[in-house]
């Protein structure tokens, strides 16, 4: 039998630190909700807005697959592996924190806010060698279809240490797309970036989250022009 969990946008955790305005789909930092710890291997989904010129100073990470998806503005990244990069809307960044890394992330623009999703996925192997990847994706490849942006395939630049696949789609009104799960035992967490959609009968609006598992196929219908992120992850953690 199919299982689902619905997280309406307004029920997310919220922390406004002035320079950082963050909405948490799952428990994070000072937001603790025992009912919302994770969706399978998906542990963090933060919807962050960073004011101009501000950001996260140097801080550590370990044993986590960290995916950043800029939605507006530019983020400047520096890390202990020697990477210095700017990630922009249309880019995706992945980091396997493994045995441990340090990094900082700042809004590169002084006068504009930067918006981005910060997503953490539990790795399927602990203490791997830290790794950084970044790529610019062609947004045309997700128009009225689903574009795979993250996979476990190490041949791609954007791969993570987990049997997880992320996809994005920009859908015109009334378009329906199908998503077939790639691995048995996985579930999909659907996050609506913009617009209204219906997923297997469940209506969703902007920034709603919808987890679904014990299912093989998702039918995603755009009830308005919509932008959607699908995160397919294992439902059990190693």
């Amino acid at each position: 039998m199919t299982n689902t969990v619905l997280h309406k946008a307004a029920t997310r955790g919220h922390a406004n630190h002035g320079w950082l305005n963050s909405y948490h789909s799952f428990s994070f930092a000072s937001y603790y909700n025992p009912e919302r710890i994770h969706f399978g291997a998906l542990r963090v989904l933060n919807d962050d807005t960073v004011t101009g010129g501000m950001g996260f100073g140097t801080h550590p990470h370990d044993n986590m697959e960290i995916i950043s998806i800029p939605l507006e503005g530019d983020l400047e990244h520096k890390d202990s592996m020697g990477n210095t990069a700017v990630i922009r809307k249309g880019d995706v960044q992945v980091m396997s924190a493994g045995t441990g890394i340090y990094h900082s992330e700042y809004n590169k623009n002084k006068n504009e806010a930067a918006k981005f999703l910060q997503i953490w996925v539990y790795p399927n192997k602990k203490n791997v060698k830290p790794r950084y990847g970044q790529a610019t994706l062609n947004k045309a490849d997700r128009h009225n279809t689903l574009q795979t942006i993250i996979s476990p395939n190490a041949k791609n630049e954007l791969w993570i240490q987990q049997d997880a696949w992320f996809s994005m789609g920009n859908l015109d009104k009334d378009i329906t797309v199908k998503y077939n799960l790639k691995k048995e035992g996985n579930g999909v967490y659907v996050f609506v970036l913009a617009g209204d959609i219906t997923v297997n009968g469940q209506q969703l609006q902007t920034r709603d989250g919808f987890g679904i598992w014990n299912v093989q196929t998702l039918n995603i219908k755009a009830d308005s022009p919509a932008e959607v992120l699908l995160m397919e992850v294992p439902m059990t953690i190693n």
């Binding site: 994070f28 000072s30 370990d62 441990g100 203490n127």
Partner: protein, 116 residues
Amino acid sequence: MEQVEILVTGRHPQIMDTVLRLINQHGNWNASGALSDEVAIELFQQRAFRLVLLCSGISEESEKKLRALFTFQNPGIIIVQHYGGGSGLLTCEIQEALDKAAAKNKPVVQYKDGLL
């Protein structure tokens, strides 16, 4: 409220410093760190810890050994794997583990109809 003694063990000195600092910012938690199995075992024998937090860099063999030893010496010890290396998940991981342990140890009270 009772002070919760926490033993943190890992292999990354800078992450250890960060984790210890973050835990010790919490009023009711007190953390001690060990960067090797030997120090972790020594500290565990000296002090009454409530929870052990396993951080990055510990080999599978070491983890197995530490878990077996700590559980043998204190069957009620809570052992938690820490992920993420910083402030994001730390509080939640510790709080969730303490809540679960408290719920497990809570006496079950059964009421019979008509008695209340």
